[in-house]
Protein backbone atom coordinates (compact mmCIF):
# COMPACT_ATOMS: atom_id res chain seq x y z
CA UNK A 1 0.00 0.00 0.00
CA UNK A 2 1.42 3.34 -1.05
CA UNK A 3 1.72 6.18 1.40
CA UNK A 4 -0.99 8.12 -0.42
CA UNK A 5 -3.69 5.51 -0.20
CA UNK A 6 -2.69 4.77 3.38
CA UNK A 7 -3.13 8.41 4.36
CA UNK A 8 -6.49 8.83 2.78
CA UNK A 9 -8.03 5.59 4.02
CA UNK A 10 -9.90 7.08 6.94
CA UNK A 11 -11.49 10.36 7.90
CA UNK A 12 -10.61 13.15 5.52
CA UNK A 13 -10.10 16.55 6.98
CA UNK A 14 -10.86 19.34 4.62
CA UNK A 15 -9.49 22.84 4.46
CA UNK A 16 -11.60 25.23 2.45
CA UNK A 17 -9.94 27.99 0.50
CA UNK A 18 -12.46 30.48 -0.83
CA UNK A 19 -11.08 32.51 -3.66
CA UNK A 20 -12.90 35.35 -5.31
CA UNK A 21 -16.12 33.42 -5.32
CA UNK A 22 -19.73 34.39 -5.45
CA UNK A 23 -20.32 32.69 -2.13
CA UNK A 24 -22.77 30.11 -3.38
CA UNK A 25 -20.15 27.42 -3.61
CA UNK A 26 -19.01 28.25 -0.09
CA UNK A 27 -22.52 28.01 1.21
CA UNK A 28 -23.12 24.68 -0.43
CA UNK A 29 -19.97 23.38 1.24
CA UNK A 30 -21.25 24.50 4.62
CA UNK A 31 -24.58 23.03 3.70
CA UNK A 32 -22.94 19.64 3.37
CA UNK A 33 -21.92 19.87 6.99
CA UNK A 34 -25.38 20.50 8.32
CA UNK A 35 -28.12 18.09 9.17
CA UNK A 36 -29.54 17.12 5.82
CA UNK A 37 -26.34 16.04 4.11
CA UNK A 38 -24.12 15.71 7.15
CA UNK A 39 -20.79 14.68 5.68
CA UNK A 40 -19.41 14.34 9.16
CA UNK A 41 -20.83 10.86 9.27
CA UNK A 42 -18.10 9.94 6.79
CA UNK A 43 -15.55 11.44 9.10
CA UNK A 44 -15.14 14.51 6.94
CA UNK A 45 -14.66 17.74 8.75
CA UNK A 46 -13.72 21.28 7.95
CA UNK A 47 -10.58 22.25 9.78
CA UNK A 48 -9.24 25.66 10.67
CA UNK A 49 -5.75 25.36 9.32
CA UNK A 50 -4.22 23.81 6.28
CA UNK A 51 -1.61 22.11 8.45
CA UNK A 52 -4.20 19.62 9.70
CA UNK A 53 -5.84 18.96 6.37
CA UNK A 54 -5.86 16.05 3.94
CA UNK A 55 -7.89 17.83 1.32
CA UNK A 56 -7.57 21.35 0.00
CA UNK A 57 -10.89 22.47 -1.41
CA UNK A 58 -10.57 25.49 -3.66
CA UNK A 59 -13.74 27.29 -4.62
CA UNK A 60 -14.20 30.48 -6.53
CA UNK A 61 -12.18 32.04 -9.28
CA UNK A 62 -8.68 33.06 -8.30
CA UNK A 63 -7.82 36.70 -8.75
CA UNK A 64 -4.32 38.08 -8.85
CA UNK A 65 -4.28 38.87 -5.17
CA UNK A 66 -5.48 35.42 -4.11
CA UNK A 67 -3.03 33.71 -6.39
CA UNK A 68 0.04 34.20 -4.20
CA UNK A 69 -2.01 33.27 -1.13
CA UNK A 70 -3.22 30.05 -2.68
CA UNK A 71 0.33 29.07 -3.49
CA UNK A 72 1.38 29.87 0.05
CA UNK A 73 -1.43 27.80 1.50
CA UNK A 74 -0.50 24.92 -0.77
CA UNK A 75 3.14 25.11 0.25
CA UNK A 76 2.18 25.00 3.92
CA UNK A 77 0.09 21.90 3.40
CA UNK A 78 1.33 18.54 4.66
CA UNK A 79 2.04 16.32 1.67
CA UNK A 80 0.48 14.23 0.25
CA UNK A 81 -2.54 16.43 -0.09
CA UNK A 82 -5.53 16.09 -2.37
CA UNK A 83 -6.57 19.24 -4.17
CA UNK A 84 -10.15 19.61 -5.31
CA UNK A 85 -11.21 22.40 -7.65
CA UNK A 86 -14.75 23.23 -6.77
CA UNK A 87 -17.41 24.76 -8.97
CA UNK A 88 -17.21 26.18 -12.43
CA UNK A 89 -15.08 28.99 -11.07
CA UNK A 90 -12.59 26.66 -9.49
CA UNK A 91 -12.37 24.44 -12.55
CA UNK A 92 -11.98 27.06 -15.25
CA UNK A 93 -12.64 30.49 -13.84
CA UNK A 94 -16.23 30.28 -14.93
CA UNK A 95 -18.04 33.45 -15.65
CA UNK A 96 -15.25 35.56 -14.17
CA UNK A 97 -12.49 34.22 -16.41
CA UNK A 98 -12.76 37.23 -18.67
CA UNK A 99 -12.33 39.70 -15.85
CA UNK A 100 -9.38 42.04 -15.79
CA UNK A 101 -8.07 40.69 -12.49
CA UNK A 102 -8.39 36.97 -13.19
CA UNK A 103 -5.34 35.12 -11.95
CA UNK A 104 -5.74 31.88 -13.86
CA UNK A 105 -7.67 28.71 -13.17
CA UNK A 106 -6.60 26.71 -10.14
CA UNK A 107 -4.86 24.00 -12.15
CA UNK A 108 -2.38 26.47 -13.61
CA UNK A 109 -1.31 27.43 -10.11
CA UNK A 110 -1.26 24.15 -8.19
CA UNK A 111 -1.77 20.50 -9.22
CA UNK A 112 -5.42 19.48 -9.00
CA UNK A 113 -6.60 15.93 -8.25
CA UNK A 114 -10.31 16.27 -8.81
CA UNK A 115 -12.78 18.66 -10.35
CA UNK A 116 -16.34 19.09 -9.15
CA UNK A 117 -18.14 21.17 -11.78
CA UNK A 118 -21.43 22.95 -11.36
CA UNK A 119 -22.47 26.46 -10.56
CA UNK A 120 -22.79 25.73 -7.70
CA UNK A 121 -22.47 21.92 -7.50
CA UNK A 122 -25.30 20.35 -5.56
CA UNK A 123 -24.36 18.80 -2.24
CA UNK A 124 -24.98 15.41 -3.82
CA UNK A 125 -22.40 16.23 -6.45
CA UNK A 126 -19.93 17.12 -3.73
CA UNK A 127 -20.44 13.74 -2.06
CA UNK A 128 -20.10 11.97 -5.39
CA UNK A 129 -16.94 13.89 -6.16
CA UNK A 130 -15.30 12.98 -2.87
CA UNK A 131 -16.21 9.32 -3.26
CA UNK A 132 -14.68 9.25 -6.71
CA UNK A 133 -11.59 10.90 -5.36
CA UNK A 134 -11.22 8.26 -2.67
CA UNK A 135 -11.60 5.41 -5.10
CA UNK A 136 -9.10 6.85 -7.50
Amino acid sequence: MSLGSYCFRKSLWVFHFGGASCNNCDIEILDCLTSRYDIERFGMQLVGTIRHADVLLVSGSINRKCRARLLKVYNQAPKPILVVAFGACGCTGGIFAEGNVFGGPVDTIIPVDAYIPGCPPKPEAILAGIVKLLNK
Partner: protein
Protein backbone atom coordinates in the same frame (compact mmCIF):
# COMPACT_ATOMS: atom_id res chain seq x y z
CA UNK B 1 -38.49 68.33 6.75
CA UNK B 2 -41.46 69.74 4.91
CA UNK B 3 -42.67 67.56 2.10
CA UNK B 4 -41.15 68.69 -1.15
CA UNK B 5 -43.42 69.26 -4.11
CA UNK B 6 -41.67 67.43 -6.87
CA UNK B 7 -43.64 69.09 -9.63
CA UNK B 8 -41.85 72.33 -9.01
CA UNK B 9 -38.75 70.95 -7.40
CA UNK B 10 -36.48 71.41 -10.46
CA UNK B 11 -37.49 75.08 -10.57
CA UNK B 12 -36.73 75.59 -6.92
CA UNK B 13 -33.37 74.07 -7.48
CA UNK B 14 -32.72 76.41 -10.39
CA UNK B 15 -33.66 79.38 -8.28
CA UNK B 16 -31.37 78.40 -5.46
CA UNK B 17 -28.31 77.47 -7.42
CA UNK B 18 -28.82 79.25 -10.69
CA UNK B 19 -25.26 79.81 -11.77
CA UNK B 20 -24.05 76.39 -10.64
CA UNK B 21 -26.53 74.33 -12.58
CA UNK B 22 -25.51 73.49 -16.12
CA UNK B 23 -28.38 71.22 -17.05
CA UNK B 24 -31.43 69.46 -15.69
CA UNK B 25 -32.92 66.20 -16.83
CA UNK B 26 -36.17 64.91 -15.44
CA UNK B 27 -36.44 61.17 -15.96
CA UNK B 28 -39.53 59.15 -15.32
CA UNK B 29 -40.47 57.75 -11.95
CA UNK B 30 -39.05 60.28 -9.57
CA UNK B 31 -35.59 60.53 -10.99
CA UNK B 32 -33.74 63.77 -11.55
CA UNK B 33 -30.29 64.26 -13.02
CA UNK B 34 -28.66 67.61 -12.38
CA UNK B 35 -25.51 68.62 -14.12
CA UNK B 36 -23.52 71.00 -11.93
CA UNK B 37 -20.24 72.82 -11.87
CA UNK B 38 -17.70 70.79 -10.00
CA UNK B 39 -16.74 73.69 -7.73
CA UNK B 40 -20.29 73.85 -6.41
CA UNK B 41 -20.52 70.18 -5.53
CA UNK B 42 -19.97 70.47 -1.80
CA UNK B 43 -22.43 73.31 -1.42
CA UNK B 44 -25.21 71.58 -3.30
CA UNK B 45 -24.52 68.23 -1.68
CA UNK B 46 -24.72 69.90 1.68
CA UNK B 47 -28.07 71.39 0.75
CA UNK B 48 -29.45 67.94 0.01
CA UNK B 49 -27.89 66.17 2.97
CA UNK B 50 -28.37 68.74 5.68
CA UNK B 51 -31.41 70.69 4.67
CA UNK B 52 -33.49 68.16 2.83
CA UNK B 53 -32.15 65.18 4.82
CA UNK B 54 -31.41 63.06 1.79
CA UNK B 55 -29.37 59.91 2.13
CA UNK B 56 -26.15 59.59 0.20
CA UNK B 57 -26.42 56.37 -1.77
CA UNK B 58 -23.23 56.09 -3.76
CA UNK B 59 -21.23 57.75 -6.48
CA UNK B 60 -20.45 56.25 -9.86
CA UNK B 61 -17.50 57.26 -11.93
CA UNK B 62 -17.42 56.73 -15.66
CA UNK B 63 -15.75 57.77 -18.86
CA UNK B 64 -17.27 60.64 -20.75
CA UNK B 65 -16.56 62.28 -24.05
CA UNK B 66 -14.36 64.78 -22.31
CA UNK B 67 -12.69 63.41 -19.24
CA UNK B 68 -14.75 61.64 -16.63
CA UNK B 69 -18.22 62.00 -15.23
CA UNK B 70 -18.97 61.33 -11.60
CA UNK B 71 -22.58 60.97 -10.59
CA UNK B 72 -23.45 61.38 -6.92
CA UNK B 73 -26.69 59.62 -6.11
CA UNK B 74 -28.91 60.91 -3.34
CA UNK B 75 -32.15 59.41 -2.20
CA UNK B 76 -35.09 60.82 -0.31
CA UNK B 77 -36.34 57.84 1.65
CA UNK B 78 -39.70 59.27 2.56
CA UNK B 79 -40.75 59.58 -1.09
CA UNK B 80 -38.35 57.41 -3.03
CA UNK B 81 -37.19 60.38 -5.06
CA UNK B 82 -33.65 60.22 -6.37
CA UNK B 83 -31.51 63.20 -7.22
CA UNK B 84 -28.31 62.61 -9.10
CA UNK B 85 -25.64 65.29 -9.20
CA UNK B 86 -23.41 64.93 -12.19
CA UNK B 87 -20.02 66.59 -12.43
CA UNK B 88 -17.58 66.51 -15.26
CA UNK B 89 -13.90 66.21 -14.51
CA UNK B 90 -11.17 67.25 -16.85
CA UNK B 91 -8.94 64.44 -18.02
CA UNK B 92 -5.75 66.48 -17.91
CA UNK B 93 -6.25 67.45 -14.32
CA UNK B 94 -8.56 64.88 -12.75
CA UNK B 95 -9.29 66.42 -9.38
CA UNK B 96 -12.34 67.14 -7.30
CA UNK B 97 -13.05 68.17 -3.74
CA UNK B 98 -13.72 65.16 -1.47
CA UNK B 99 -17.05 64.71 0.22
CA UNK B 100 -15.74 62.25 2.80
CA UNK B 101 -15.31 64.89 5.48
CA UNK B 102 -18.93 65.81 5.19
CA UNK B 103 -20.38 62.31 5.16
CA UNK B 104 -18.51 59.11 6.00
CA UNK B 105 -20.47 57.10 3.47
CA UNK B 106 -18.48 58.77 0.71
CA UNK B 107 -15.15 57.62 2.08
CA UNK B 108 -14.87 54.21 0.47
CA UNK B 109 -16.41 55.02 -2.83
CA UNK B 110 -14.01 57.90 -3.39
CA UNK B 111 -11.12 55.58 -2.70
CA UNK B 112 -12.60 53.17 -5.22
CA UNK B 113 -13.07 55.76 -7.91
CA UNK B 114 -9.53 56.94 -7.26
CA UNK B 115 -8.34 53.41 -7.98
CA UNK B 116 -10.40 52.61 -11.02
CA UNK B 117 -10.30 55.95 -12.81
CA UNK B 118 -7.38 57.77 -11.25
CA UNK B 119 -9.41 60.74 -10.10
CA UNK B 120 -7.79 62.62 -7.28
CA UNK B 121 -9.99 63.61 -4.33
CA UNK B 122 -8.68 66.69 -2.63
CA UNK B 123 -8.72 66.68 1.20
CA UNK B 124 -9.76 63.03 1.43
CA UNK B 125 -8.78 61.76 4.90
CA UNK B 126 -7.27 58.51 3.68
CA UNK B 127 -6.95 58.10 -0.05
CA UNK B 128 -5.31 54.67 -0.06
CA UNK B 129 -6.01 51.47 -1.93
CA UNK B 130 -9.26 49.74 -1.21
CA UNK B 131 -9.67 46.94 -3.69
CA UNK B 132 -6.71 46.98 -5.99
CA UNK B 133 -4.05 45.67 -3.59
CA UNK B 134 -2.04 43.30 -5.72
CA UNK B 135 -4.76 43.05 -8.31
CA UNK B 136 -3.41 45.86 -10.42
CA UNK B 137 -0.62 48.41 -10.29
CA UNK B 138 -1.21 51.74 -8.66
CA UNK B 139 -0.51 53.59 -11.88
CA UNK B 140 -2.98 51.51 -13.83
CA UNK B 141 -6.63 52.51 -13.95
CA UNK B 142 -8.57 49.64 -15.45
CA UNK B 143 -11.84 51.45 -15.97
CA UNK B 144 -10.39 54.56 -17.54
CA UNK B 145 -10.53 54.72 -21.29
CA UNK B 146 -8.69 57.56 -22.98
CA UNK B 147 -11.30 59.75 -24.61
CA UNK B 148 -11.30 60.68 -28.27
CA UNK B 149 -9.59 64.00 -27.75
CA UNK B 150 -6.85 62.45 -25.75
CA UNK B 151 -6.23 59.66 -28.22
CA UNK B 152 -5.69 62.22 -30.90
CA UNK B 153 -3.23 64.16 -28.85
CA UNK B 154 -1.34 60.99 -28.08
CA UNK B 155 -1.02 60.23 -31.76
CA UNK B 156 0.39 63.60 -32.68
Amino acid sequence: MAAVNYEIFPDILKLNFDSDILGLMVLQRKRLVVQIRKEALLEIANYFLDELKYRFVIASGMNADHGYDIIYHFSDDSTGYMVNLMVNIDEKKPEIESMANMISAANWIEREIHEILGVNFINHPNLTNLISGENWEETEHPYARPSRDNKKSQRT
